[in-house]
Amino acid sequence: MSGLDDWAKQYARQADADFKSWSLLQTDGSVPECHKLLFLQMACEKLCKAHLVRAGSSPADIQKSHAYIAKNLPLVVRNEALARSKKLKGMKQLLKAVRQVAQEIEVLNPAVDRNGQRPDNCEYPWEIATGDILSPLDWTFHPGALLLAPNGRTILKLIRGAIDALL
């Protein structure tokens, strides 16, 4: 196994652990949505980074940013969908949904705020125009709703499958 494959595998193991943590928390009603989604965001980020590092990105470079999900998760999900099914019908809608979900998952990380346009995140409070301070604990997150949409479950299955494929 080459060095890059080793890095990719270890990223995938972390993604696997994050995804399993997210999955376990889903059944616990006492855990706030922001904490659940934090694990999903981390799983997706590491899954994308596993694919990037295997393609030659420097592990040190990709650790400097969290903004890899919006661009790369749709490619990862597309690859997984094509590996699982030869039927292309329905995939257009699925991939449209994935691009939406991926953008929303990416901004869950507080370091990604789209130049101040999206201060909502899973970890830290933020201030809004009225001067009020909002907490992630009280916020309704877009990915939570998007993942309950018809394609949402499929997207989650494909993310799970893409992680498995790297382990």
Binding site: C48, H51, L52, R54, A55, G56, S57, A67, Y68, A70, K71, N72, P74, L75, V76, R78, N79, L82, A83, R84, K86, L88, M91, K92, L95, K96, R99, A165
Partner: protein
């Protein structure tokens, strides 16, 4: 088993079909003899109106013979503006890579 060129074409056509934002797909080839090696991935540059700009960020996928994918692949997805930057040499591909033939969308219709 299909050749790498066949599989690159088939992969690109599937991507065109399921991603309405893709305007062009081009092969990227190595300047050395490595392309003949089956372990050398199929490399596709995909110009997609629905992606976000982030420069040249290749993402790699393994071969999956069970799913009739016999070669590893590597996708570089860029915006149309970034494609202009590549053409104007403001944005460069990694050393040893060159843009090669465009895989046209029309082939999708020809096969039906």
């Amino acid at each position: 088993m299909s050749t790498k060129d066949d599989e690159a074409g088939a992969l690109a056509r599937k991507h065109y079909e399921i991603e309405p934002g893709i305007t062009q797909i081009l092969r990227i080839r190595r300047t050395d003899d490595a392309e003949a090696d089956p372990k050398e991935p199929i490399k596709l540059l995909e110009v997609n109106e629905n992606t976000v700009a982030s420069g040249i960020l290749p993402i790699s996928f393994a071969a999956n013979p069970a799913a009739d994918i016999h070669f590893p692949s590597l996708i570089v997805e860029i915006t149309p503006d970034e494609f202009c930057d590549i053409q104007n040499e403001r944005l460069k591909l990694p050393d040893g890579w060159v843009l090669a033939d465009e895989i046209p969308r029309q082939e999708e219709a020809c096969e039906r």
